[in-house]
Symmetry: C2
Subunit: 434 residues, 2 copies
């Protein structure tokens, strides 16, 4: 076939051309579809008009580039959105919207559907109206405009943000039937901004300064105390996420990033950093964001998010629709103490484990994608994943956590999640004893 | 100050509380703002009501989480959008929208404003209607559904896509006054998908197969020939970009990624891969996407995008507004032959160079962000950047390119860009002889 014939065959020209191409091409009546390293024909079909016949989209103009100066997902993906759980919060301004992690791949969270949580709603704060004060135990109290922040040396870092309450509704047992809701208070974005250390050094921290108290410009203020050592280590005042200006719901025009530590400390609409000699013991770090233990006492200053993982597909929102045979089992793993080094997957509720494949080497304080390329025999499974991080820590079972923490906690539930996959391919949030 | 006072001071309660806080806090009348390692006071101000007085956003509820199930940028950023150049193309369906790289930071391109280019418009193709055929010199011709693709082992990789025509309007001299238009036919996304090699091995490539011919489902088909060696190396059939389903304008539901090679080969709405013994010599690789040389002949099969860089800020669309003093000079660098190892910046049109700081180590076939933290004395500058890649290649000047390529080319212009920054801070696209 010469190029002229080819062009007429493929560019939506006369049907004869296309038929000619197909006669020349292959035995269309016996097309086979395979999958996986242990490949075999999964189906043998009759000619499929979707590939053998000209389709409307091959003979019409599509949309021009003026259609979407700033694009949104195609309408077929309208289900891939942040969702809340109506009974979970008293009102929509002090609420939570969960990332649809069941429908995503890779590690970058699309900004448009990245987890958001506000304590008094997402405020609209223009760059011109933005001010950041550094005060307290410093040589020179300072106030920065947004433009000032843009003049300091910047860093880039991809970081996960996980709410301390992620999986918090599961302490007393499996409750929410979807990974979006059980583990979706998380996102992972590439942040650009100024190290907080730079700004603190500009102000000059006095020797008696041991903590910083950070607060936002919203009505809640969401004040939190951070040890000076952490503030001077890797905390960032971010002005961009995933390349662009922060979204309103993520703290436009500037938020704090506290790598590996609970999301509540990542203060949005960052307004003030006060250097103090001791922690403030604010509402957000006393009555909230402390961990109830099995003995009825509480533990505070539990800032780090320990290693955790979850299978995102298959899962209750992502059942297996194609029946037995090759199946990609995939999920996410992360640790606030460093890089993920290994993820194990079990199909029998933790009795036996296989080492999953990491899509890319683990990055400290960022999400890691794992895959297990599996040949499903169609029988039921109790799917679990278990993360290891570079400190040697291994993700615990829920029962192991409960032995210390009891069932009345809200925060820091990094227990192993179980999905019961039925022979139909449907999946359900269950627990197995361990 | 105890916590009660603090809470009333910071959470939008009585003004007296706030005033009390400020009296306790610091000498507000002498706030200083500094920047940079060689810090000094850039301004001394009177008390600033934006930080000393209660603002409306601190005493009102913000938006609840139901406001944006899938979010868009805040209205203040309405200018950060893809834009076309009306005179550049004959019609909007066969046109180009440029990434607003002047306004971005980091390396991930936000999907919503990532470069798009179509040859017959962006088509709407549902997953259910999607088919991918592998045919030609194979043991078993195959047709895959979208669901089939999801069953193969997947890989993740962050890759730049640069149109071969990026900077193509600048061959005969500086023409477009904005980095969005001179270098914005590029994006950088984290792709997830199936190696093309896996699908080809599933079909079984015959020994005489040396090339693949790839085409899309749109009316243009945009067919291109790719050597089998590359197809079996690192080419990906991608189903996700930046974590989510491909956008319609980026080839939903599946596109080809050809790491480091010109964007025209990254066929969208991928429909067919034919294994052939020789290249097809299609329209897109003969009359288009070949490089005119100074002697009037043309060079074809120039697939790789050579090392290139550009300063994104300051630039014509991002003038310096804050006057002299600390200035972050930043930009992007990339190479289709491997990782960026160094970027140099000149302020005198290439007479002298300083080594810029890479935000993170260069990643092969992905964008690299660089910064030069600079103390601007307010005099005019001829700003340039120059990329080095791991092969030892150094980005050439435009004059060096023209000595071989002449001025009538369109493609593969990776010459050094010059911005003339005036004492006012305004910047202009100019050329200097070299």
């Amino acid at each position: 076939m010469d190029e002229k014939e080819r062009d007429s065959a493929v560019s939506g020209s006369p049907v004869m051309g296309r038929r000619g191409f197909l006669r020349a091409g292959a035995s269309v009546g016996a097309l086979a579809v395979g999958a996986g390293a242990g490949a075999r024909a999964m189906a043998e079909g009759t000619p499929d008009p979707l590939i053998t016949e000209q389709q409307p989209w091959a003979s019409q103009w599509g949309d021009g580039v003026d259609a979407t100066p700033y694009g949104l997902p195609i309408r077929f993906e309208g289900d891939v959105i942040r969702r809340n759980v109506p009974w979970l919060t008293a009102d929509v301004v002090s609420s939570i919207n969960f990332t649809p992690i069941h429908a995503l791949d890779g590690t970058i969270t699309p900004t448009g559907c990245a987890f958001e949580r506000h304590h008094s709603g997402a405020i609209e704060l223009a760059k011109e109206d933005y001010r950041l004060m550094i005060n307290g135990l410093v040589e020179t109290p300072l106030v920065f405009t947004y433009e000032d922040l843009e003049r300091f040396p910047r860093v880039n870092r991809t970081l996960f943000l996980e709410c301390a309450a992620n999986s918090g509704m599961e302490w007393a047992g499996a409750q929410l039937n979807g990974v979006q809701f059980t583990q979706g208070m998380i996102h992972n974005m590439q942040y650009s901004g100024v190290p907080l250390r730079t700004l603190l050094e500009e102000a000059g921290v006095k020797p008696e300064g041991k903590w910083v108290y950070v607060e936002g410009a919203d009505a809640s203020s969401n004040g939190r105390s951070i040890p000076l050592e952490k503030a001077m280590d890797d905390v960032i005042v971010a002005i961009k996420a995933n390349g662009e200006a922060l979204r309103k719901e993520h703290g436009y025009p500037a938020r704090l990033c506290v790598p590996g530590w609970e999301g509540n400390m990542w203060v949005k609409w960052l307004r003030r950093v006060e250097v103090t000699d001791e922690p403030v013991q604010s509402r957000e770090e006393t009555s909230k964001y402390t961990d109830t233990l099995a003995d009825g006492t509480s533990r505070k200053w539990t800032w780090v998010m320990d290693a955790k993982s979850v299978i995102t597909s298959p899962s209750p929102q992502m059942p297996i629709r194609h029946g037995k045979g090759p199946l990609v089992i995939t999920g996410l793993a992360w640790s606030g103490r460093g890089a993920i080094t290994q993820v194990d997957v079990s199909i029998d509720g933790g009795k036996s484990w296989q080492v999953a494949r990491l899509a890319e080497p683990g990055v400290a304080m960022a999400l890691t994608r794992f895959y297990l390329d599996f040949d499903w025999d169609g029988s039921e499974m109790l799917l679990q994943s278990r993360a290891h991080d570079e400190t040697g820590y291994v993700q615990p079972t829920k029962d192991q956590l409960r032995a210390i923490r009891g069932e009345n906690s809200v925060y820091h539930n990094n227990g192993i999640q179980t999905w019961w996959v039925k022979p139909t391919g449907e999946a359900e949030n269950v627990e197995v004893s361990s």
